[in-house]
């Protein structure tokens, strides 16, 4: 008898005991699988109404969500994204069936609506909007309405800029006023910028148009200057600047932790950002944890980028009950109580005037007495030709 034959016989002998052991193991495995797969099997057939939201992570305030869920008997299901074009692509690829609410900023709500991804909204159903800063709503700010019309396509909730945060102990005050500080040989190896292609090109576009003298001249499209609508010559010049800048950069950041770490440690001396790191640096300085003062240049001499975030209702929302829930969510979001949480917990300024609840220091940190500045900022937009911008960005990255 060969070894393998013997093995076979032994295997046959072990049959009974092994079968018992195995079925036990199998049963527990099945139990575990059922537990683990339970939630999404249940989700798929959920009877309760689900509010599916494509949003920025920082607006998910847990206590607000829980209270809202209990009050309206719905389940809140958020999905997060980073940049506008990322969310837009997701909506474009059939996302209207996946999401009820979606967020976007600047010019983007118009684009969403033009593409049939979102529906017209009624501001009258959002009573909390009455307390908004004038600079954030029509007639001063009209990007939430269809172009040349009065129908609303989005409800604003928060605003901010994309200014440059500066380490004042390292960077000359005179240099800090201009965007050019980000391209200055003097600060080689201590500059960081975001990894997003749109804002990098747009910010360079402002500088380039200023230097070329094309910013205030007549634009080819007959509209006022928009850094997201650049001519081929301007784009070509942007490319040159960006390639030159690459040699000066420490890195490009995708995560905010990186900005904090690099700025606090003094490795990086300047970074365009939303102002979050800036407020953190200010607080640290006040507490004596940081021996230098930070500064945030919201609007450099050439001009700056800004944004107003909005809620939009997806065109996939067709039944009235769901639509009411969407409005209820937006209105609830704009309540003083929630906006205070968004400001204090997530560090984002609200479009609702909540100054009466805030301390003097908070009002100063969040630049809340300067909301009129919003009107002077170039709003985030969709690149006029993503194809051309992609090419410029790839050539910069490959250089």
């Amino acid at each position: 008898m060969t070894t393998s034959d013997r093995k076979t016989l032994l295997a046959a002998k072990a049959f009974n005991r092994r079968t018992v052991l195995k079925s036990g193991a199998a049963a527990s495995a099945v139990g575990f699988t059922a537990k683990a797969t339970g939630p999404f099997v249940r989700d798929a057939h959920a009877a309760e109404l689900e509010l599916r939201v494509l949003m920025w992570a920082n607006y998910n305030v847990e206590s607000t969500v829980t209270a809202f869920e209990q009050q309206h008997g719905v389940r809140f299901a958020p999905t997060y994204f980073d940049g506008n074009s990322e969310a837009f692509n997701k909506m474009k690829a059939g996302g209207t069936q996946d999401f009820d609410l979606v967020q976007a900023d600047g010019h983007w709500p118009r684009t969403y609506h033009k593409q049939g991804l979102t529906q017209i909204v009624d501001p009258a159903k959002v009573p909390n909007l009455a307390n908004a800063y004038p600079a954030c709503v029509p007639p001063k700010y009209t990007l939430d309405q269809v172009e040349g019309g009065t129908d609303w396509v989005a409800i604003p909730n928060c605003w901010g800029g994309y200014g440059v945060t500066i380490n004042t102990s390292m960077v000359d005050a005179a240099d800090a006023e201009s965007i050019e500080v980000l391209y200055n040989e003097k600060y080689k190896g201590h500059i960081i910028t975001s990894a997003r292609f749109e804002e990098n090109i747009a910010e360079t576009g402002i500088l380039v148009a200023d230097r070329m003298g094309t910013r205030d001249a007549a634009r080819p499209d007959g509209k006022p200057f928009n850094p997201y609508v650049l001519t081929d010559e301007e784009l070509e010049e942007c490319k040159t600047w960006l390639i030159k800048q690459k040699g000066l950069l420490l890195t490009r950041y995708v995560e905010y932790d990186m900005v904090d770490r690099l700025m606090i440690s003094g490795q990086a001396w300047m970074s365009p950002e939303w102002g979050i790191t800036f407020r953190r640096l200010l607080a640290m300085h006040r507490n004596g944890e940081l021996d230098w003062q930070a500064r945030h240049v919201l609007k450099p001499t050439e001009g700056g980028l800004g944004w107003i975030d909005n809620w939009m209702i997806s065109s996939g929302v067709e039944d009235a009950e769901k639509r009411e829930i969407c409005y209820a969510w937006i209105n609830n979001f704009l309540s003083d109580e929630n906006m205070l949480k968004v400001l204090r917990e997530e560090g984002t300024s609200s479009v609702i005037d909540i100054r009466k609840h805030l301390t003097e220091i908070e009002i100063e940190d969040f630049l809340l007495n300067e909301t009129e500045q919003i009107s002077g900022l170039y709003m985030f937009d969709q690149p006029s030709s993503p194809e051309k911008w992609e090419r410029v960005w790839s050539e910069v990255e490959a250089a």
Partner: protein, 271 residues
């Protein structure tokens, strides 16, 4: 004398290499666990132990849901991948058939395709051709296609020297194919199957690039982490990762104790 030195020097040198590899692989994980207890996740020095993030987890349903979704996707993917890859590898290795080469190529082919492309192409196909919205099922399937090729290769690597005469012998003794598999083949190849299961589970559990495009509104751990990058990773994510690692560590301790006591041997036939 030289030989005796050589006899212990080799294992010590190689063992040191393994040790260093563990240090390298686990350093970031240890850092995550450490940071999960810190008050400040971006600047966790000096250390102020703090369990706030863990307490928050109890109330944050988004994280719990993401964890269960990731587990579900991982388990289903692993089951499908393991079954298909085990069947495929047995077919290819055991039977002389004119299509054997082609079958192998087809079964390995998902590996030729970058994860990102699998994600994107499945998205395009589901949306534009089939008109399906994002859902867990298509994420599982897209992950399983990818996982299957990994499972297949892992099975091949181990079964390439498996003695199929064992199976034939069992058949000669009158066992039917199913019994043969269960009592002869499976006990011998199960380490490979377990390997395929574990690897495909891990690939799917934390997959970002395939799942991202196919999930629609369903959150998973990696998509949560990716989504929160804009404003920095939240302490709760670190805490959840630390908890998952805690469970894994416990599992290892249990396996170790069981092996130490000789209760399980995991196919090891030595002393």
């Amino acid at each position: 004398m030289a030989r005796r030195v050589d006899r212990w020097l080799t294992p010590v040198a190689l063992g040191t290499m393994l040790g260093l590899l563990y240090v390298f692989l686990f350093a970031p994980v240890i850092y995550l666990v450490y940071t999960s207890f810190a008050r400040d996740t971006t600047w966790p020095f000096p250390w102020n132990p703090n369990v706030k993030a863990y307490l928050n987890l109890i109330n944050l349903r988004a994280y719990q849901e993401a964890l269960w979704n990731s587990l579900g996707i991982g388990l289903w993917t692993a089951l499908i991948s393991m079954a298909l890859s085990a069947m495929g590898s047995i077919a290819v290795l055991k039977y002389r058939h004119r299509w054997r080469g082609w079958f192998s190529i087809v079964l390995i082919s998902p590996m030729f395709v970058a994860e990102l492309l699998i994600g994107i192409s499945t998205l395009i196909f589901n949306r534009k051709v089939l008109g399906l919205p994002g859902n867990v099922g298509s994420a599982v399937i897209a992950n399983a296609v990818h996982g299957m090729s990994f499972g297949f290769l892992i099975m091949l690597a181990q079964l390439v020297r498996y003695d199929w005469r064992l199976d034939d012998a069992a058949m000669v003794f009158g066992a039917n194919p199913w019994r043969t598999f269960w009592h002869v083949t499976a006990p011998n190849i199960w380490p490979a199957m377990l390997g395929a299961f574990v690897i495909t589970f891990l690939l799917a559990f934390n997959n970002l690039e395939i799942s991202f495009y196919n999930l629609g509104a369903v959150p998973t751990l990696p998509s949560l982490a990716w989504g929160s990058l804009r404003y920095g990773l939240e302490a709760e994510l670190f805490a959840l990762a630390a908890l998952v690692n805690g469970v894994v560590f416990l599992a290892f301790v249990v396996i170790y104790v069981l092996m130490r006591l000789g209760i399980v041997r995991f196919g090891y036939r030595g002393i």
